[in-house]
Symmetry: C2
Subunit: 393 residues, 2 copies
Amino acid sequence: MAGPLNAFVPDSTAHLPGAEGGPLAGLTFAAKDIFDIKGHVTGCGNPHWLATHEPAETNAQVVQQLVDAGASMVGKTITDELTRGIFGENMHYGTPVNPNAPGRVPGGSSSGSASAVAGRLVDFALGSDTGGSVRVPSSFCGLFGLRPTHGRIPLDGMLLQAPSFDTIGWFARDAETFAHIGSVMLPPGPPGQRPRRLVVAEDAWELAEPGTRRALETAVDRIGALFTSSAMVRLSPTSLEEWSGHQQVLQSREAWESARDWIDQVNPTFSFEVSDRYAMARSVTDEQIVVAQAGRDAVISRMNEVFDGGDVVVCLPTTVSPAPLLGQRVSERHTLRLRNSALTSIAGNTGRPQISLPLAEVDGLPVGLSLLGDYGADEQLIELAREISRLAE
Amino acid sequence: MAGPLNAFVPDSTAHLPGAEGGPLAGLTFAAKDIFDIKGHVTGCGNPHWLATHEPAETNAQVVQQLVDAGASMVGKTITDELTRGIFGENMHYGTPVNPNAPGRVPGGSSSGSASAVAGRLVDFALGSDTGGSVRVPSSFCGLFGLRPTHGRIPLDGMLLQAPSFDTIGWFARDAETFAHIGSVMLPPGPPGQRPRRLVVAEDAWELAEPGTRRALETAVDRIGALFTSSAMVRLSPTSLEEWSGHQQVLQSREAWESARDWIDQVNPTFSFEVSDRYAMARSVTDEQIVVAQAGRDAVISRMNEVFDGGDVVVCLPTTVSPAPLLGQRVSERHTLRLRNSALTSIAGNTGRPQISLPLAEVDGLPVGLSLLGDYGADEQLIELAREISRLAE
């Protein structure tokens, strides 16, 4: 039904040939099924969403941009329901296969996109990242993946989950292709400063499992030569979990506001896990919002200090471990989601860009090293990824 | 798929011919798909439940009893997911049709059983009643339906939701058939006292919508002749909503305990409404349980006072209104469920039997009058139903 690797949305015929002669001519891509494709219903990983929405009238802006640049859109990919999840297990459509970690989740919510790229079904794929939905599958599937500076790439024609956190990202298997796509995806910005100072986020590092930490430390040693200095810094004066709590609260409220009317009207079926998150989101109080907003402001202030000087890049594990096994208990996955969110919410809360690089393996399973850059430093992160890839050659 | 009226479970071939020559020979019945039928998986209204359970090894005790008595089981009927609901809208299998109230819900959770009886597909049908799941569809579909004394009919081979509230009941279109089934369903008990004193539950009556109240008042006037006295009594010193709150808390905790391990392991898809109730159930605290248990004890004490003397029957509206329209918002249905629970939880909290009688209509839509009897007075309630039916002739 869903084709190879269960990466693609079943029964979708969405397909857009790339314009001839563009810079991306000859490349194929897949789009997470939250991006509008003209004439097709955007399904968002939930059959009730699919059944209660009309076909899109236009292509999502980024999709159109890529097609105009010559890339061919060859399919819609499976996503966690309404992008709510970071592991990629969709109880309606099944779980896209992680070709680089058999028996394990692909990561989500851009699960099918990561699966399709890792499985060489397409050259690159579009995802979105609100709480880790590009970075986590990049880490688990061994791909390059970017969460860009918040607000840099317009979200027109994409399902919004929590607008103050939502971003569009993409996946590729190699840094050159990744950069090539970036030149089309990213609107022109001021020329950025090449980061010279590497900050190793000590408290982020402590959250990783021992084997993952060791594997990623080796990767950090390898890339150290690219920087003039390297320092170990604790990011949070309290804890990264506390920081992450602020995003949980704010993102939950925004996600509930985005979906509440539709949920109330349709009474859709969700996996229990997804409903449970909406039920918790509904219970967030205005008092909690006030506290979380103040907390987010404090995170932003502290991270401005860390980035003071403009030539800093922060290095951290993308995820606390390689991809977990398929079919874990809801309660176990809940715990694991929170642990990973402590890492992903640094970029989430601040809106800074973060790129995940496939630089390590633990027992043969990929795990990503992340570089967190300053606002607008998306190109610099991509350029670093290229330099790092050349180092390995 | 699900056959006429969407009452039956799709693709089920469960069928048990009745024993020859028994007292129920020639009668057909359907069983809510929470009763085990040997060799078939009991689906409980949820496809993930169906997919993760083995076929039953024996028939549920009541099913076997009915078949041994000559009745033929001709099909499994659709239920609200895991019996969680009183309106009968199942987002996986669709809503059984209410033949007596077009465009309206059949009531639940024994929705398909009520639909099949009302639509004359079977002579009678089995349901269960934890929080109103036989009484509510009886009212909405214009049927006779009994919630028996708690503990009177053994629950072996039936899905338990909240054991301190769970009961087995049945539906029929006429009082004679209803009584006939009762003679097989109910184990022998001490001969009860014919209720002589009618107590009209003033606070229950106040909860009904005006049109429903008027229609049911006329019905009460008609049956008054069967009693030596009639008195208006307020049941609750606080409110029936407060009483109902105790059942909500206790039933929620029990329902969560029944389902939590399976939910955690399987991450099943439920309608949002059902997940939401489980999520709320999980959040019930031990302190709330202590308060609710004390509250339930107070309800029982007060109702013992009302029934003092042994010849009392309490009369109340089964539901606050006829069947609501299909497809209401989750939030509207939530409010309406709580309003109806204030009526159904009197029997629920105390364990007393309650029979719903199809004695009224509002704008052509059926609505039930209920008689609540003393412990073990199931036969007396059924006998009253027969007397009342004869009155109408």
